[in-house]
């Protein structure tokens, strides 16, 4: 029941059940119900280190929450990464790509949110995330913008962030 950009129909096409269910039933259900978030499938390539030479390894079992909820071009995404690993060149920025569900859209205006909980190589710290206009990824930082501590299966955080994209119908 995720919201889908309303379809532009063309003359002569065969309108089957799949189209009607996606573009009539589910859209109407979305508007009158509390829509369910859409889970994002794990992809190791979505998690990268913002500094060349740095690494951030999030195994499939480390991603315990990754969903988004969309209302037109207004989005919320919630993520919990646990027991991930950081290595290589020290960096202050970790990145989570949203390309798999944003399509060609990008973030329209900057926004930010606090992390709910962050363990930086096991040490509890404040953290924050930043959605930068013009990009399609979430930047994750220690709140002091310090360098992430190298870790092996010991970096964990949780957050929910909202942002607006430039999608136009």
């Amino acid at each position: 029941m995720s919201w889908t950009t309303p379809r532009t129909w063309v003359d002569g096409e065969f309108v089957d059940a799949s189209l009607m269910n996606a573009h009539v039933r589910e859209q109407l259900e979305h508007m009158v119900a509390s829509p369910l978030p859409t889970n994002v499938a794990y992809s190791g390539g979505a998690f990268t280190n913002g500094t060349p030479g740095g690494t951030w390894t999030v195994d499939s079992g480390d991603l315990t929450t990754f969903w988004y909820y969309r209302n037109a071009n207004r989005w919320r995404a919630s993520i919990r990464v646990s027991t991930s690993s950081i290595g290589g060149t020290a960096s202050s920025q970790l990145r989570i790509s949203m390309a798999s569900f944003l399509g060609g859209a990008t973030i329209y205006r900057n926004s930010s949110a606090p992390m709910r909980r962050l363990f930086d190589n096991g040490t509890l710290r404040p953290g924050m995330v930043f959605c930068r206009a013009g990009t399609n990824y979430i930047e994750c930082y220690r709140r002091d913008i310090g360098l992430w501590t190298a870790s092996t299966n010991n970096t964990t955080f949780t957050f929910t962030v909202q942002f607006v994209t430039n999608v136009n119908f």
Binding site: M31, R109, S111, A113, M128, F130, F169
Partner: protein, 161 residues
Amino acid sequence: MAWTMPRTWVPGEMVDAALLNQQLRDNLAHLVPNVTPVDVAYSASLWSGLSGMTWTVQSGDVQWQWYYRFGQRLTFSMGVQATSVGGSLGSSLTVQLPVGTGQFVAVAVRVARFLDNSVDREILIGSLANLLTLSRADGANFVASTNATLAELTVDCVVAV
């Protein structure tokens, strides 16, 4: 997208693309519209402090400041850096919301990032009439600063308009 009265369909009619685009695409887009965030025009009077404290934000200090609103629900986001705090130091800095002139309730949230005279702090967001209030989580007063206070936040509010 403009709203078109829902059509009463009749047996045997030819449903073409024009009808579906009007009745489905455009009406759905009207009901769940895109938003274009409104960038807030700079005004030094938007930032202040309670009880004689001052918060000086110059136009070049504003990294972003936007909002959008659906009815009474307001989403507001702001990033300012290299700002100054002075006067009679207290525990609450304030930001005037761009819309909403009466009482409102802010969702209980924390500021994403705040540097209090360059020191990282945990900051809570509250509300007072048409103001967002920022308070240190430890209850202490803010520190006087010259071009060394930073705040970044995004918050949902319910406003009276």
